[in-house]
Amino acid sequence: MSAPRPAGQRLDHHTLEKYENIWFGIATVMALFLFVTVLASFFSGTYPSLTGEGGHHITGVKNGRLNPKNFAATPFATPGLRQNADGTYEAFVVAKAFQFEPAVLKVPVGRPVTIHVTSADVLHGYYIEGTNINATAIPGQVTSFTTTFRRPGTLNLICNEYCGTGHHNMINSVKVEVQEP
């Protein structure tokens, strides 16, 4: 500023500069705080993050990719839930216009299940109503994530990625069942 300003009524450079700096500080701290809270929820496990490259151990799947015309070579040939020798659960789901296979995916309550999803044609969405399970099904690729269903019941499984004229009817379900002892 050149000339000294009188104590006028309107906003002036010095006052504004001070407030600007304070606000810049607040904005920066807010952005960093957001980032830290998101990282915290990674560690607390509230977020079912997708694994980087899905299903690397699955027959016929390499680097998270598979040949969409040759499901026969993979477990996606017979979609559904299976229990591995070590007792863990894995589910294989194929999305295609305009339904999921299996139409009703049965999963055990209270047990971690790793779900692998792929598509037989175009992009589809894999969204389970009332949960934060929300993933993309891509032809030629496998989307994998692990989750635990805490309550028994039937949940709607909704395709939420545009897949053609029948998109809005592409709704199936996940049935969370109490295990027979």
């Binding site: 998270g64 030629g140 809005h168």
Partner: protein
């Protein structure tokens, strides 16, 4: 006038003069006079052509909107025989709505607005043949892409994710249209560099600075979509290659797809920073701060796109998290903007005798549409920006990803922050360009307010439905299953349906005013009756680099900063794309519409 309690000036004991409120202001810029009348007329004409083409696209796109709002109100109108003759499906209407409003309207408006502003601000002569060639090429691209859209041969929605396949004509037209915007980049950057050579040691004037930074940002951003369409989708749709990798395409799309929202909103920021203080009767707060804001956008707008892909496999969580961090950082320049522009408004209101912590707001000229449009757009953007933070958080995103929340979000960002600002700009820019007059301030004002209210109601209804998991862009009103009938969403559905009606009224009002204006006779010299509304400044950047503040000197070398922006994008996208290309899995195309 009274002393402002919120902003009492720092004590200045030496000052013994009587209070002189405006003594610390710096007068509004006087742009250089352009003496060549024929050149100026041609420059104004090409700008007007861009604007009118933009608003014609908005007209068609907007008229589809209420049909979609009714869909989310639970009312399916797509079986109506008249409508069926025009639109094959909801999805075709939605594709038109998205492409025309989000891609065509914005790009044409910005290409005119941000070509004209720097040319006038710098007083430079540009090659008008090249400017007209660019306009004609962009329009040819638009018309080419429009054909398959209208014949249901490109019902791909505006994201056109492969392997859903459209006619090659659509991809070629879109490439020509988007590619033409890079010619505008070239012309504006060239103009600025010629000005720099002719004015060594000078500080670029603010409006030109913001325009050049915006175009540079867009050039970096556009590389993704141009690469996707030209090298992947066109060869694939023509059958030259057997397949396409959907994830590579989607990643390149969002390289551009998030930065494009800053390409849409930065021209609105230019109007908020440079012209809104004038409309309000206030002053620009700080030119150096504005320059910092735009440099932050130039550097940081693009390497954030992976936050659109949290739901996608085969991209590492580490990279997604880095993009998330950069996305949070890009909120900072927007927060600075909120501060600066709000201070300009408070300054204006107190100059008019406004008082109180919030009472000053009542003194603003709310009935003047050139003022109310950008201010209501800003109010909308505060809410939209807050929602955007939710979308960008990888922990929140799975709750709202691909739900009705998302269109709720972007109708109060691009649909209001950008669109309503552009509508407000048209109300002074078209009189400026043509010498015609706004036919009715009252109707224009009603259009602005109904747009704002309609979009607020729409956003409330859609965000609310999204939280229940209603998917975005789906014909939910005709879903065979009872899922949506079973959800407790009657109130948000009603709100959404009502908003469609309000917005239809608003659109009718606005387009009536616009076309009445355009079709009226020239009565004024636009330079006199509606000059470019430059504002007074509290803290200017100065005109000479020598002696300018550090902030001004470090923000001036835009070419170098442009290089840094490109480097940052390559760093943040290079490893991700390299891995995707190494593991590419090509799949065939499908046409399921």
């Amino acid at each position: 006038m009274t002393t402002s309690p919120g902003f009492s000036p720092a004590p200045q004991p030496k000052s013994a003069q009587a209070p002189q409120p405006a003594s610390s202001s710096h007068s509004a810029r006087q742009a250089p006079v352009i003496a060549d009348a024929a050149y100026l007329a041609s420059l104004k004409k090409v700008t007007q052509y861009y604007l009118v083409t933009a608003f014609l696209a908005l007209l068609v796109g907007t008229l589809m909107g209420p049909l979609q709002a009714l869909n989310y109100g639970g009312i399916n109108v797509y079986d109506n025989p008249i409508l069926k003759a025009l639109l094959k499906s909801y999805y075709q209407g939605l594709s038109l709505h998205g492409v025309l409003n989000a891609l065509v309207f914005t790009q044409f408006f910005i290409s005119g607005f941000l070509l004209y502003l720097p040319a006038r601000d710098l007083g430079m002569k540009i090659n008008m043949k090249f400017a007209w060639f660019t306009y004609v090429l962009m329009t040819a691209g638009l018309l080419t892409a429009a054909v398959p859209l209208l014949t249901n041969d490109a019902t791909l929605l505006y994201t056109f994710y492969p392997p859903m396949e459209g006619s090659p004509v659509f991809y070629i037209g879109a490439a020509v249209m988007v590619g033409s915007s890079l010619l505008v980049v070239g012309q504006v950057v060239n103009m600025w560099m010629r000005w720099k050579r002719a004015n060594p040691g000078s500080v670029t004037p603010l409006v030109a600075f913001m325009s050049v930074a915006t175009w540079m940002m867009w050039a970096v951003a556009a590389l993704g979509i141009v690469t996707e369409v030209v090298f992947l989708l066109i060869p694939w749709s023509l059958g030259w290659v057997a397949g396409v990798d959907p994830l590579i395409s989607k990643t390149l799309f969002w390289w551009t797809g998030h930065a494009i929202v800053y390409f849409w909103v930065l021209p609105a920021y230019i109007a908020w920073y440079a012209f809104l203080p004038n409309h309000a009767g206030g002053r620009i707060v700080s030119e150096p701060l504005v320059r910092l804001t735009f440099v932050m956008f130039l550097l940081n707008s693009t390497p954030v796109g992976l936050h659109h892909q949290y739901a996608d496999p085969n991209i590492s969580v580490t990279w997604k998290t880095m993009h998330m961090f950069l996305t949070f950082l890009i909120a900072i320049p927007s927060l600075l903007t909120a501060f600066s522009v709000a201070a300009s408004l408070e300054d204006a209101a107190r100059a008019r005798g406004g008082r109180g912590l919030f009472g000053w707001m009542l003194k603003l000229p709310w009935g003047r549409p050139t003022f109310s449009a950008p201010v209501l757009a800003m109010v909308s953007f505060i809410l939209g920006g807050a929602g955007g933070i939710v979308n960008a958080s990888s922990t929140f995103a799975p709750v709202i990803h691909n739900t009705a929340w998302i269109p709720g979000h972007f109708h109060i960002t691009v649909g209001t922050a950008t669109t309503l600002t552009f509508m407000g700009i048209s109300l002074w820019l078209i009189p400026h360009l043509t010498g015609k007059r706004m036919p009715s301030v009252r109707l224009a004002s009603a259009a602005v307010w109904t747009w704002f209210v309609g979009m607020m109601v729409f956003a409330l209804g859609m965000h609310w439905q999204g939280l229940y998991g209603v998917p975005r862009r789906a014909l939910v009103s005709a879903t065979a299953q009872s899922v949506y009938r079973d959800m407790p969403i009657a109130i948000p559905q009603l709100l959404t349906a009502i908003s469609g009606v309000i917005l239809l009224v608003s659109a009718v009002l606005y387009f009536y005013v616009l076309f009445r204006m355009l079709l009226s006779k020239r009565v004024d010299d636009g330079e006199v009756s509606s000059p470019i509304p430059y504002s007074e400044v509290i803290s200017p950047a100065g005109t000479k680099l020598a002696g300018a503040s550090a902030l001004v000197r470090y923000t001036e070398p835009l070419l170098a900063l442009w290089g840094v922006a490109l480097l940052l994008v390559l760093l943040m996208y290079g490893p991700v794309l390299a891995r995707l290309f190494a593991n590419a899995e090509l799949v065939p195309g499908w046409r399921l519409y």
